[in-house]
Subunit: 235 residues, 2 copies
Amino acid sequence: MSLSKSVLAQGKRLLMEAALKLNASTRSLNALSLRELAREAGLNPNTFYRHFKDFDELGLAIIEEMTQQIRSPLRELRRKAAESVVPADSPVVTWQENPRLNLARAMQVNRETVKLFFDYVAENPNAFILGIRELHGASPILRRALRQVMDDFSQDMADDVRELKLMPELTQDSLYDIAETITREMFQLSMEYIEQPERREQICIKAEKMITSLTMGSAVLHGHGAILMGALQTE
Amino acid sequence: MSLSKSVLAQGKRLLMEAALKLNASTRSLNALSLRELAREAGLNPNTFYRHFKDFDELGLAIIEEMTQQIRSPLRELRRKAAESVVPADSPVVTWQENPRLNLARAMQVNRETVKLFFDYVAENPNAFILGIRELHGASPILRRALRQVMDDFSQDMADDVRELKLMPELTQDSLYDIAETITREMFQLSMEYIEQPERREQICIKAEKMITSLTMGSAVLHGHGAILMGALQTE
DNA sequence: TTCTGAGGTAGACGTTTGTCTACCCCAATT
DNA sequence: AATTGGGGTAGACAAACGTCTACCTCAGAA
């Protein structure tokens, strides 16, 4: 919810927080009036100009902060989840050798990452509301910025999956495509997660299933069906 | 692009078209001013009140019209695509009996439906921009309405898949979950389709792959992996 | 010590806004 | 032939708006 207590000028942070709050509760960013924002922040309207040229600049500042806060924690989590099943110092076991172990590991990372992501969403709802809202909003600048953020997330995910060997080998492009779809879906679902607290567990499960189906389907399409079947039928 | 030339009062239609246009090109619905809208429509500001209580009502009217226009054509298309591979009067062949034929038919329907959907998007960009924008917008009323629209689409899709036997048997819930994900993704992708004309073919292909992976993965998870493997390895 | 510039405020301006009341037109009922 | 009411306009109003210039404060560089 609150932005990092960094070296930002106080007024600047107040404005960013006010924007997050108003965006979540009433109007989208580009529908905010400068005076309304200043009122919410408890500042003089003119103070806005001291820090931002226009609302796009404000939006960019918020997006940048939020991105820095969530990006690396997510990566770390994937690593931790992967290690919790197979410690990093244990010998590498390929998918061919032990599909069942690898599948279990992948699904564990899947489950834990989804959980953490949604936890983060629940803790920072306003940030996600803003992100998702402006991803499809009226400002081309913010749209572009948010698409870049999602592309980065996707790239991170693809890199981690490759590095941690969470899937049988795919082409780089296919892997990235899947990561892109998952990222899009997770952001989309985060809106439902925020809005429907009573369905949260269900949404979590749906997300996991979606990811599992998508990745398994892609594996089958790329000729790794036999490995998967092996992993599944022994259960 | 243009709304149906129905029995709507002229002014009402002008206002709806103006809203579509402004929403797509400059500001989101809730950021529109009444006077700005009237100006664009070439009408007196007060005319708005003759037809709508507020902007939500306007939005609902647009959404309703658009939904009626696209919903049944999409269903018809699925049927046509299914028939083009296996005519309706030919004997039913189960997935068990001929997985390869059924898979080919499913992928054909997939390909053609995706294509038609994106064609429709390209012809009515403003409607989709409004829909996607307001699905995540500031108005809870419009958000709810659009989620309902998407749920209906998903239900249609699930019904058609079942009726046309486009997938091996799944539970009703699983089928619906997949349809939901696909619907969400297709709407999401339609924005990219509109904004990046040079990547349209690529987006089409990605969408097809996404759908294929998702459905296949789900089939595998539900114990139909063997059937799929059979269909794939003979190719 | 003086100076400077970043951060914040005050007041005023011309515009634009939402909404009100009143009036108009004309096709369809009665 | 008279009446009604849906669709549209005109003008006016206070309120809210973006933005300008001017002024204040105070920490840190000179």
